[in-house]
């Protein structure tokens, strides 16, 4: 090939460069959110979830009274002007307890997501990148996964005593192996990608290699996994409280309320109904959003099941 034709090719290629601007990258998140909100079930779920979050944040301003104040003289009342949803067996205001219960549930959900994801990413990277760690840590994770989550959580709470922090950690631990496994598989898949080898050829340090070239690949699956953990943490907390192994009994959590209400179910079924509906609504809307997110971020999974 002559230099002459080389030059014409150069000109041609330069022209052929697409005129796309970097705007594309900036709009990534906005596009994702718009995409998620394009279906009705997702829109409804998002509104429900937003209302529950607002309810938790502004609980003191929503006409509530102190949710733990006992008033035995007013026990098991129906709806009145003073107690919108009536009172429970100790005379506590049911409406206030339901509203404040959202705080516990959302805190447990969010806290579990943070703890489980942090620990899961740590162990996932460790086992995915370093083969020596893989053998030891993953066998331990396998063992952990073999124990039913609820049972493990009950045992952990029993050992360390029931406070919000211990409950949160107890719910998080059973979730860690699943996150770790997922991160590990992504890291192992990316480890042999030519662009990762190319980075190592350029003398990139291990830490930069992991944070720049590998971890960004885990973000999408982690977001999806996070929503499922959020929903299942709320469920688990309710179950633990219902079994009496959750947060301290006087705390207004939806699980505790259902446990208390169980004895008076035949007298006043609303005691279980209201907190039960709230748990269902929250878990359902989080799961729905999670499904839509997954379809968006991982289209291959969308059509299955």
């Amino acid at each position: 090939m002559t230099t002459d034709s080389g030059n014409t090719m150069k000109a041609e290629e330069t022209l052929a460069l697409p005129d796309m601007e970097e705007a594309q990258n900036a709009s990534g998140l906005g596009q994702l959110i718009r995409g998620i909100l394009s279906t009705w079930p997702a829109r409804i779920s998002a509104v429900v979830l937003l209302l529950i979050i607002l309810m938790a944040v502004f609980a003191p301003y929503l006409g509530t009274v102190d949710p733990v104040r006992l008033d035995p003289s007013q026990r098991l009342q129906g709806s009145t002007a003073a107690h919108w949803l009536g009172t429970d067996s100790f005379g506590r205001d049911l409406y206030s307890r339901v509203v404040y219960g959202a705080r516990i549930s959302l805190a447990v959900g969010a806290g579990t997501v943070i703890v489980a994801l942090l620990a899961g990413v740590f162990f996932g990277v460790l086992t995915g990148y370093f083969r020596w760690a893989d053998i030891v840590v993953m066998r331990f994770m396998d063992g952990l996964m073999a124990i039913p989550g609820i049972l493990l959580a009950i045992a952990l709470v029993a050992i360390s005593g029931a406070t919000l922090t211990t409950v949160l950690i107890a719910i998080s631990i059973p979730e860690v192996p699943r996150v770790a496994r997922m991160v590990r598989s992504v890291i192992m898949g990316v480890r042999n990608e030519p662009y990762v080898e190319a980075a190592s050829v350029l003398g990139t340090s291990t830490i930069k290699m992991i944070t720049r070239h590998m971890l960004p690949n885990t973000i999408a699956p982690l977001i999806v996994q996070g929503t499922y953990i959020f929903a299942s943490a709320i469920m688990t907390e309710s179950i633990l409280s219902f079994l009496g192994a959750g947060v301290p009994p006087e705390t207004p959590s939806w699980g505790n309320m259902m446990a208390d209400g169980r004895l008076y179910f035949l007298v006043k079924p609303e005691l279980i109904l209201y907190p039960g509906v709230m748990v269902s609504l929250t878990v359902l809307s989080v799961n729905m959003l999670g499904d839509v997110l997954r379809d968006r971020l991982d289209p291959r999974m969308a059509k299955r099941i």
Binding site: Y195, A198, L202, G203, P216
Partner: protein, 547 residues
């Protein structure tokens, strides 16, 4: 070859236009016309995106219904317009009149049925033969495609056969009903050169027996020069030129055809060995064993052994071999991407095999990967990717940016591309970026591992020229790994030929390609498509020697 002027026209494509559904701005394939006669081979040649496969799919009636449609023209098969026939009639035609052979034989065959069953199924659906008759026909067809031990092959599953054998099965399946027209879409692209040669001969032999018309879709002019009677050149959906093989190869009328033909590498070595220069790389009795030895069992594989060669300053050394020859293993050992089992790799006088800290070496040796789509991190801009190495070695960002800008211009890209992401570039452009990333480190040795194999010929020629320019401007040595003898002939000063993990021949490219000593090298040269054609000068190779 066996056509005469009055041979019957089997396929006539008249003014065919294919568009996306719903209609796009511009049709994918525009106003294509060509004829194929009985016993004739017409090659449709073009680069990726030229519309050659879409055209052949249209003839087969296989365009994806929800995405593409024929919007104009006629496709006449033996006088019948296949764009107007009913689906039922199309199915009949597909069996009896048109057959197709695809690129990848593994995916064209059903992995859970024996190949005998699969060929038998074609007869079962389209003829009224008894089982015994069918079996006899299948066995005789297997024999005609020159498969060994046909009774055993009949009962084999696809994974039990080699790639070449599988392609023979697919051909047997296509031809058992004696179709009038055979469409072959890159049928030899996935095969090693020696196998490719055999399959080309097989198609030709069967064609001559049956007077089948063949439409052969390919990007490889080497293949074209061996089998074509007539050539149809396509570019970006337009028909550029048609003509007989000799017209197109010796006297192309259009500029595009000229450029396409002259980009095809030919086997004639163009580079002399270079004069004495200091050694940059010295590989001494290198060995690589994969797997671990058990107490009793030995499951290890010797991927490379007794590897000795040197690369001098400013020299381009080629390592040539078919798949599984161990050429990439050697390259990876030189880079320490894989640790060698034994031997030394001496870079600039220092043995790098015992080293634990590779930082210093990494700067001296750089690597260019085969697949430009996967060797750049899709989430990072070109600038970030190119500056990474410099910053790792302590350069400040402003300085690194300046250097990257200069290097991008060296590879004929404007410095302004730094803010873009890899997906915004074509394969050839990405490979330039990957080369820039290696060159910006100012290495003494570049390792190019099949760096041009995934590229179209015109882009391939540009990238090869770029590598040579860089060698001339910077004095870098290049270790050039390739399976393609023709590419090696274009660029290498010396070559190392590998087979099954060993070096079989080693010396100046000029000597080895012109006068091979080892039987394997000779076989490779014989199998290379179009050994007797000098594409750059539009003439047979014999003429080149005579001049």
């Amino acid at each position: 070859m066996t056509t005469t002027p009055d041979s019957q026209v089997v396929l006539s494509v008249e003014d065919v236009t294919v568009d996306t559904r719903p209609k796009g701005k511009k049709p994918i394939v525009r106003n294509i016309s060509f004829d194929v006669k009985e016993g004739e081979t017409v090659c449709i040649v073009g680069e990726s995106g030229s519309g050659k496969s879409v055209t052949s799919m249209a003839v087969m009636g296989l365009l994806p219904k929800d995405a593409l449609q024929v919007t104009g023209g006629r496709i006449m098969l033996d006088g019948e317009d296949i764009l107007k026939v009913t689906p039922a009639r199309m199915r009949e035609l597909r069996a009896a009149s048109v057959a197709m052979v695809f690129q990848e034989p593994m995916t064209a065959l059903n992995p859970v049925k024996t190949v005998g069953d699969q060929i038998d199924e074609v007869l079962r659906l389209h003829t009224k033969d008894s089982p015994a008759e069918r079996k006899k026909k299948v066995l005789s067809m297997l024999d005609r495609v020159h498969l060994p031990d046909i009774e055993r092959v009949y009962k084999s599953f696809p994974h039990e056969l080699s790639g070449g054998q599988r392609q023979r099965i697919v051909i047997a399946m296509a031809l058992i009903l004696r179709p009038r027209l055979l469409l072959a879409d890159e049928p030899t692209t996935a095969l090693d050169v020696t196998t490719q040669k055999q399959i080309l001969y097989l198609i030709k032999e069967l064609q001559e027996q049956e007077k089948t018309a063949v439409v052969f879709v390919t990007h490889d002019f080497g293949v074209v020069s061996e089998i074509a009677d007539r050539i149809v050149v396509m570019n970006r959906g337009d028909l550029v030129e048609t003509g007989t093989r000799d017209e197109i190869l010796t006297a192309p009328k259009k500029d595009y055809t000229r450029m396409l033909v002259s980009s095809v590498p030919s086997l004639i070595p163009r580079r002399e060995p270079i004069a004495a220069q200091p050694k940059v790389l010295d590989v001494i009795s290198l060995q690589k064993r994969y797997g671990k030895k058990g107490l009793l069992s030995d499951n290890t594989v010797l991927a490379a052994q007794d590897i000795n060669f040197t690369v001098h300053k400013g020299e381009i050394t080629g390592i040539i071999g078919e798949s599984g020859s161990g050429k990439s293993t050697v390259a990876r050992c030189v880079m320490r991407l894989t640790d060698p089992t034994e031997g030394s790799v001496v870079v600039n006088g220092r043995d790098i095999v015992p080293m634990n800290n590779l930082r210093d070496v990494r700067k001296q040796v750089q690597y260019i990967f085969q697949d430009p789509y996967r060797s750049l991190n899709p989430r990072r801009t070109i600038g970030q990717s190119l500056m990474e190495g410099l910053i790792n070695y302590g350069m400040d960002e402003a300085e690194a940016k300046k250097r990257v800008g200069e290097t991008l211009e060296l590879v004929n890209m404007p410095a302004s591309v730094m803010n873009r992401y890899p997906h915004q570039f074509s394969g050839g452009q990405r490979q330039r970026v990957a080369i820039a990333r290696a060159v910006v480190m100012e290495p003494d040795l570049l390792i190019a591992d099949e760096a041009v194999s995934a590229l179209d010929v015109t882009v391939q020629a540009q990238v090869l020229k770029l590598l040579e320019d860089i060698r001339d401007n910077t004095g870098v040595s290049i270790l050039f790994i390739t399976h393609d003898l023709r590419v090696a002939a274009q660029i290498c000063n010396t070559v190392v030929v590998m087979q099954k993990g060993k070096i079989v021949e080693h010396g100046a490219a000029r000597d080895i390609l012109a006068n091979p000593q080892h039987a394997y090298t000779r076989a490779l040269i014989d199998a290379a498509p179009a050994p007797d054609w000098d594409f750059q000068n539009f003439r047979p190779a014999a003429a080149a020697v005579a001049v």
